[in-house]
Symmetry: C2
Subunit: 329 residues, 2 copies
């Protein structure tokens, strides 16, 4: 079978609900094998239909429990749910254990739910690229809701938020001052803010603080959406229906104002740019002569004979020459 035929067969099996085929498809896409690339290029055009919901926030706030509740609620509406967890626990080993997700076991055995974790790679932009691709694959396979969980804060969160239609930030009462400060960055990417563990002391104060912070500054993409601050107790399900209806309202807002299209276009721009970087990296790793040219340039930089900008320009010239006459496969 040709690569294209293999890709078609794998996609067919995955669409048919074969869990092993889905796993194999996602793994090949994440690992960027030839089969994965071929499949992904085919699948991409069928993406853009799912509702992609980013769930982010500092460790320990109860994201997994809340995601379990939200997934359950969407399942009760009869929708297929994909869950993708970006797990930074081991950025260097590429380890991708789902950690303490035992509580998701009930969901894991539901054929209408697909749960997967994504290793955070060492490569620059690798996490966001892989997350964007896997979200598009789940989307194209017919998962109507894709929940994208990220842990921690910083660059990754911003990148991953850009993939999501709606970004939900989860916080909890009783964390330290510096952690609060960190959240300031996350607040800017949030469409909905949830104060989880709201049965604990300080929940009302935190919610009030967040509302006043939100009142201070309109965001650049603001067309009238003020992120609501909700309270939940994910452990017992309190507040989950309100969260779902807030997500619905945000989706309506995106559709009504055209912001959804603006976001999708911005995400596509980033996707194409990331593919360009991936393309260069593939050419570099797959062409031995380009690899030795890179080594030679780095040695010259090390010796102080060349600055990194000049070296980069020389490397680009070399990699661009490897371009095939027709768009590459």
């Amino acid at each position: 079978m040709s690569l294209e035929e293999q890709a078609v067969a794998l996609i067919g099996a995955a669409r048919g609900g074969d869990e092993r085929a889905i796993a194999r498809l996602l793994r090949n896409v994440e690992d960027e094998t030839d089969l994965g690339l071929a499949a992904w290029r085919r699948l991409f055009k069928d993406s853009g239909r799912a509702r992609v919901i980013g769930i982010t926030g500092p460790p320990g706030v109860g994201k997994s429990t809340l995601i379990g509740r939200v997934a359950r609620a969407y399942r009760d509406q009869g929708r297929k749910v994909g869950i993708l967890a970006v797990d930074p626990t081991s950025p260097l080993t590429g380890g991708a254990l789902l950690g303490d997700r035992i509580r998701m076991q009930e969901l894991a055995v539901d054929p209408g739910v697909y749960i997967r974790s994504l290793a955070t790679r060492g490569a620059v932009g690798g996490v966001a690229r892989a997350a964007a691709r896997l979200v598009a694959v789940l989307d194209a396979l017919g998962y109507e809701i894709v929940l994208l969980e990220t842990v921690g804060a910083g660059q990754d969160e911003v990148e991953v938020a850009a993939i999501s239609g709606t970004t939900v930030l989860i916080l909890m009462p009783g964390q330290g001052d510096e952690i609060q400060a960190l959240k300031a960055g996350l607040i800017e990417i949030a469409d909905i803010i949830v104060v989880n563990k709201a049965d604990r002391e300080g929940a009302d104060q935190l919610a009030a603080q967040l509302r006043s912070v939100l009142r201070l500054g309109a965001r650049p993409d603001d067309r009238g959406w003020v992120p609501p601050v909700l309270k939940t107790v994910a452990a017992d399900g309190t507040g989950i229906p309100e969260l779902l209806s807030a997500i619905d309202r945000h989706q309506d807002y995106l559709d009504r104002t055209g912001q959804g299209m603006v976001r999708r276009q911005a995400a596509l721009r980033k996707a194409v740019w990331r593919e360009l970087e991936a393309l260069l990296l593939r050419r570099l790793t797959r062409d031995p002569s380009a690899g030795s040219e890179f080594d030679r340039l780095v040695r010259q930089v090390e010796a102080g004979e060349l600055d990194p900008v000049t070296a980069a320009a020389a490397l680009l010239e070399r990699l661009a020459k490897l371009a095939p006459a027709r768009p590459e496969s």
Copy 2:
């Protein structure tokens, strides 16, 4: 004055200790202005001499206080110290306030110390690229010690650790389980681990836990270095001399085993690769026809007429054609 002459003049003033010139130089390098690029390309060859020490760890563990102590100790040895803080507080606004660094005021008025923060940008790889450049500039300006502070966890930390000769991970007793798990990823990039606030309950247990985790797995670059676990109370200076001598031992290890050279080469490879990405981005933003080609391709992807990989290949071909005959300035 030509751009090159301006760059030479600015570098001369910065080397002469003119604080405003240093600030202007760093700002231009970070903002990637033509002047900044010209200056940075000149300065790069003089870098590689400073001892670059990464200080990382979750929020609230006392990194700023500890950095203040370490900087003070190096100043007492008569060495010039540069401090660069990568602050993720506001990744979207590019805000770069040093936050609660008032405690560093004593250092800030010392002409032998230069403190600066770095905004975490929205661009992929932007933080690591900017951090690498600014470290190289401080290095080339004669700062013998460069302390690089990062907050949070994930991709950024790994990238930034790759810039540092020695990476010090700061933890503290009494944080939650999930935070502990997060640390697992950070432990792999640590050359030295510090349990700060060691006068609190649980410090000995945490140190013992960390030592047993470290015993479990040798890291890929291991040539006999087992990260020591130290206890400090940065607030009163306890343990700082021991930390300095651990840093010295690690530097000796890097020199003795050749690991230092291995790390420097790996960092240079990353630097050249990041410059290649920056080069492409500059061509895209500065050439209007490339910009409209990009828009056209994205619209085709949006319409489902093109997949992102094919679009990326077409864009690369276009950008590569913009290559000047001689290495670009």
